[in-house]
């Protein structure tokens, strides 16, 4: 499992068709690859490069820029415990330590059964509800040791499948835009002077131009 499945390749081509410049589809396609395999595989990047018409080096350049793209396998559930200042003041250090004990791994590692990957992360923008964490980017706020334990238990028991899909899935509902409803943006001319610059040039040139006239 690595390159896109035939179904996903169809989806990929549809995503590509939305953009006037194919390269714009790089990030959505990387998400698709991550959804398929739980992380972005090397073969998937090669496949994306083929579909987009760039080199694999350009794909990996984009992919590694974003931390949410995982290049190595992660657990079914990626648990991100915020360690930034608000959460830290509200006890996230202890929470992360508890999480490590509960899951039996250090932050950054994955449980042997492949269920959980634990990470300490920078601010995830839920400071008013500190301490907070995300499971596959779904929030849990005002987390205590007890609520963390029950969260882990529920995830392990599969009770939260409806709310929290496996890592990589951004949303269960896929966007489909029929061709007749596409924005129909024309490919921009890469050598074109940006609009703001055109205006600026016109402004500076107009006095001289009027003199000439």
């Amino acid at each position: 499992m690595a390159r896109f499945t035939p179904e996903n390749e169809t989806v990929a081509r549809e995503i590509l068709s939305r953009y006037p410049v194919p390269k714009s589809a790089l990030v959505p396609l990387l998400h698709l690859a991550q959804e398929q395999d739980g992380h972005v595989t090397r073969d998937a990047m090669v496949h994306i490069a083929e579909l987009v018409g760039v080199t694999p080096a350009e794909v990996i350049g984009t992919c590694t820029f974003y931390e949410m793209f995982k290049m190595e396998p992660v657990g079914r559930y990626l648990v991100n415990v915020c360690t930034n200042i608000s959460c830290m003041l509200m006890g996230s250090d202890a929470l992360l330590h508890h999480a490590e004990e509960r899951l039996g791994i250090s932050a950054g590692d994955t449980t042997p059964d492949g269920m959980f990957t634990l990470e300490g992360v920078e601010c995830i923008a839920a400071c008013t509800e500190a301490p907070c964490l995300q499971v596959n980017y779904r929030y849990r706020t005002n987390v205590t040791n007890e609520s963390f334990d029950s969260l882990v238990n529920e995830l392990a028991a599969g009770e939260l499948e409806d709310e929290i899909p496996p890592h990589g899935t951004l949303a269960r509902i896929r966007q489909h835009i029929p061709a007749d409803r596409a924005a129909g943006v024309a490919p921009p001319d890469v050598n074109r002077v940006p609009v703001w610059m055109q205006t600026a040039v016109a402004d500076t040139e107009s006095p001289a131009g009027s003199e000439a006239n």
């Binding site: 990047m45 080199t55 080096a57 794909v59 350049g61 820029f65």
Partner: protein, 924 residues
């Protein structure tokens, strides 16, 4: 700077510049000029790392930050991202500027290991230099620096020390912007950012070496130079690369009589500072242990070392014996493209003036007739790559054969809005940049070109090209802004040169203002042709029949009849009509398109005298082998594909007793009782300037003047293409007559008769047209260079200079439905000695496979990678087969001169095209 006066003086006439104050001095900047450039042009160097004048600015490194006041108060701005605006006030030395630059440098050095003592860049490192000149002197950083594995190979030729990298984006920009091979990229983010490739996908670009040269720190190093020398140990001389005919200017750097590095020199009309990896790294061949260091003389089956006196005596005796027994026509001189202009002239004079044989050919049957190369209105690289221009490429893959021309063409298309129409037997490296690629069946290039210019041809299906593509290409040609340029070469050695010649005729006729750039690839082949190393030619682009008398006076004698070309010579040798074959750096077994003929020729000819750098397959069969001095070992001049003459520099001494080819020619002449009077390359050049009509006025002083760094285009007065307004000129009347003659002669059966008659009529008519202007022309020529005035230039060309007047259409037998037509092309890395004798490059030769279109692949029922038998009327080979969508249906493509496959053994040089059959079910 010397440039300033001219630059400043010129815009005064049409002044669209702006006044800018830089460090208190008011200067004029050009419209749209970047501040960093304007300052440098006026003697103020602003430090920089990421900015490179041949690439788009990105403002990555922030080192060029200066204090700028555009009327809104002073602010810090990166000068590489700022266009000069009127009344801008810049202070590059203010306290604010200084502090900002120090801050930037302190930051850049945060993760830099400062391992200058063990770094190859130390001593020539912009980071080191600018830290000394613009840095804070002391760092406040006391924490641990990042540590990474070092070095990691990013290609076979380039190593990367990521710790040293300051993320200036030069190499990655070069890869995507200039080379078009974005195989290296920034990975990760922030403090973890690094340049790298995709895992297991190396930076396999033909231009990877340039990143080493433009890296402003020691992050990228070349495997061939790593830990070899310190910059202060090196001495350098400027020269012109001899790896192909583009003629890139280079700096040859050596230490202790050994060439250690080649760097690109930025000259505007040619290479812009770039080099291909072959040109940059094949210098290792100069230092190879395999170089011939002493003459060899055959004793039975062995070649034994001998003294020069013995070897030359033996060669001279063989030549004298041949003259006595079979006359001058029993001697042939093959090759000469490796030689300098002076060497080539000396050999022409020896062969044609002393031996009296006109059997000379600098090309090895894989080029084009000299009248096509020299006789068409010639284009410069700049003209071909004119912004917004239209260029038609009918020839070999420029990326494989003329890599830096490929860079220029790519730039013209991608950055300067040029339109490129490619006509080729298979998709090539330039196809990605062509607006339209027309693939033709082998042998039918002229049909496609006819369709392209709107002439009706013989073929009903446009020579295999797609009709809609032809339509689009035709529309592009119709919309062309200004005159069209044509890059003309031999796309495949498995088809006759006549087809390209025919295509050139069509283009010349249909596009009267068109200029042509020859795409012959061997280093100084154009210089050798200029010097007369071709049958029927004499030095200065003149015909034997036109200028024989003048040269007979100067030389004492010239050949009585027009001689044989490479094909003719090898045929004559194989039939026992040649007594002596001289190989001037020629390896016909490897390079002549028809290996069987070359084999028979070398086996039959009684004496072979070879002058070579290495014992090649061919020179190993010689009876006398004379070691020659090569690139960087001899002085002289060379001529590139534009006809641009530039000076070669000598940096090291030749191995052993190897000597220049002109000396060999002079010595042989002396032994045969003739004193050529040639004593040095400079003296030879003086004689060339005097005798060769096209080279008049191109004196040594002119060549060596500082204005001629990029070389001098010859002739100084350029011939103009036939005027676009066809009906109103006398010259065209002559052509009409010629064409009418062609039509009349078309009834005849033999093509030769047609050609000869057409040529004769055209020459006669042209002579009439030119007689009026004749006297004026001679005056102009005597006065030296004419500054301007195209008419005078046309007139001064006179009737004597070689001119191509087209050939009648060439016909081709219908295709055999069971066969495939062979397409034989070259790769940059092949079995040539330059590549094979360079340890870094030799493994890069890809080898050859048979490439087929999927349609034929499935029709034949072969498996990908399986070994098939390819058979032609000439021979058969076993070769693995792969699918290649770039090869059209009905064609079978191979690379020639690759290790493990003698593809030329399939080709019959006398046949128009090579038909092959592919047989499956062969055990590998």
């Amino acid at each position: 700077m010397a440039e300033d006066t001219t630059v400043d003086a010129a815009p005064d006439v049409v002044d669209d510049g702006v006044a800018v104050t830089i460090d208190g001095t008011e200067v004029r900047a050009r419209k749209g000029e970047l501040l960093i450039d304007a300052a440098e042009r006026h003697g103020v160097y602003i430090p920089r790392f990421c900015y490179h004048e041949r690439m788009r600015p990105v403002g990555m490194c922030r080192m060029c930050i200066v204090e700028v006041d555009t009327g809104r108060g002073p602010s810090l701005q990166p000068s590489c991202m700022l266009e000069c605006t009127p009344d801008m006030v810049v202070d590059t030395t203010s306290e604010v500027t200084r502090k900002a630059q120090e801050g930037v440098l302190e930051f850049l050095l945060v993760n830099h290991p400062l391992d200058c003592p063990v770094c190859d860049k130390g001593g020539e490192c912009p980071l080191q230099d600018q830290t000394m000149s613009n840095g804070p002197g002391e760092s406040r950083y006391i924490e641990q620096k990042r540590h990474l594995e070092k070095p990691i190979p990013i290609s076979d030729l380039v190593l990367l020390d990521r710790e040293r990298c300051i993320l200036c984006d030069r190499c990655t920009r070069f890869a995507s912007e200039v080379a078009g091979d974005p195989l290296i990229h920034f990975l990760h983010r922030g403090n973890h950012t690094e340049v790298n490739t995709f895992p297991d996908e190396p930076f396999a670009s033909y231009f990877s070496g340039n990143t080493v040269q433009i890296c402003p720190v020691g992050a990228l190093t070349a495997t061939s130079y790593r830990f070899k020398a310190r910059p202060w140990d090196l001495t350098q001389t400027e020269s012109t690369c001899q790896s192909c005919s583009v003629g890139c200017r280079v700096a040859v750097q050596a230490s202790r009589n050994e060439v250690l590095r080649i760097l690109g020199v930025d000259v505007d009309p040619v290479n812009w500072g770039w080099l291909c990896d072959k040109g940059r790294f094949d210098f290792e061949a100069i230092n190879s242990d395999e170089r011939l260091a002493a003459p060899l003389v055959r004793q039975g089956d062995e070649l034994a070392p001998a003294g020069w006196a013995q070897a030359l005596r033996q060669a001279a005796d063989a030549l004298s014996g041949a003259l006595d027994s079979g006359g001058p026509v029993s001697i042939g001189v093959l090759g000469g493209a490796r030689l300098t202009n002076e060497d080539a002239y000396a050999w022409t004079r020896f062969a044609k003036g002393v031996l009296g044989t006109d059997n000379c050919d600098a090309q090895l049957g894989d080029g084009l007739p000299p009248e096509v190369v020299l006789g068409l209105p010639r284009a410069t690289i700049d003209e071909v790559c004119r912004p917004g221009g239209t260029v038609v490429v009918v020839g070999p893959d420029p990326k494989e054969e003329l890599p830096v021309l490929f860079l220029r063409l790519r730039h013209a298309v991608v950055e300067a809005g040029a339109t490129l129409i490619e006509v080729a037997p298979a998709r090539s490296g330039i196809s990605d940049y062509a607006t339209v690629t027309l693939t033709h069946r082998p042998g039918e290039v002229a049909e496609v070109v006819r369709a392209l210019v709107g002439e009706t041809g013989q073929s009903s299906d446009l020579g295999g090209a797609d009709a809609s593509a032809v339509g689009r290409a035709r529309a592009l040609l119709d919309q062309a802004d200004g005159d069209v340029c044509v890059v003309l070469g031999r796309p495949s050695v498995a088809e006759s040169a006549d087809f390209v010649t025919d295509a050139a005729s069509v283009l010349q006729r249909a596009l009267p203002g068109a200029r042509f750039l020859s795409a012959l690839r061997r280093s100084n082949v154009h210089g050798a042709l200029d010097m007369g190393l071709a049958p029927g030619l004499l030095p200065g682009r003149v015909r034997l029949e036109d200028s024989g008398a003048e040269f007979a006076e100067a030389w004492g004698a010239v050949p009585a009849t027009v001689g044989l070309d490479a094909h003719g010579m090898l045929t004559a040798a194989a039939e026992g009509r040649l007594s002596v074959l001289v190989l001037l750096g020629a390896d016909p077994l490897a390079d002549f398109p028809d290996r069987h003929l070359a084999e028979r020729a070398l086996a039959t000819v009684p004496t072979i005298v070879a002058s070579d750098l290495f014992l090649t397959e061919s020179s190993a069969r010689a009876h006398v082998v004379l070691p020659a001095a090569g690139f960087a070992e001899c002085e002289g001049t060379t001529t590139n594909l534009e006809g641009r003459v530039s000076v070669l520099g000598q940096k090291v001494t030749p191995p052993g007793t190897a000597r220049s080819d002109w000396m060999i020619a002079a010595e042989l002449a002396r032994l045969m009782g003739h004193d050529l009077g040639l004593e040095s390359p400079a003296a030879i050049w003086d004689e060339i300037c005097t005798l060769a009509p096209s080279h008049r006025g191109v004196t040594t002083d002119l060549l060596r003047s500082t204005d001629s760094d990029a070389g001098v285009l010859v002739p100084l007065e350029r011939e103009e293409p036939a005027p676009a307004d066809v009906d109103s000129t006398d010259g065209v009347a002559a052509e009409d007559v010629a064409e009418a003659a062609v039509d009349q002669a078309a009834a005849d059966d033999t093509l030769e008769a047609q050609a000869a008659e057409a040529e004769g009529v055209a020459a006669a008519a042209e002579q009439v047209a030119a007689e009026e202007a004749g006297e004026l022309a001679e005056e102009a020529a005597a006065d030296g260079p004419v500054e301007d005035g195209a008419e005078e230039a046309v007139a001064s060309r006179g009737p004597a200079t070689l001119r191509f007047d087209g050939i009648p259409a060439v016909t081709l037998a219908p295709r055999d439905a069971y066969s495939l037509r062979l397409v034989a092309t070259r790769k940059l890395y092949d079995q040539g000695t330059g590549v094979q004798q360079s340890a870094q490059l030799a493994p890069l030769a890809p080898g050859s496979v048979l490439r087929l279109n999927r349609y034929d692949f499935e029709r034949l029922g072969v498996e990908e990678g399986s070994v098939v038998r390819v058979a032609s009327a000439r021979g058969a080979l076993r070769v693995p087969v792969v699918v290649d969508a770039g090869v059209p249906r009905g064609a079978a493509a191979v690379y020639v001169n690759q290790p493990g496959l003698a593809a030329t053994s399939l080709v019959d040089a006398a046949a128009a095209v090579t038909e092959v059959r592919v047989e499956t079910g062969i055990d590998s």
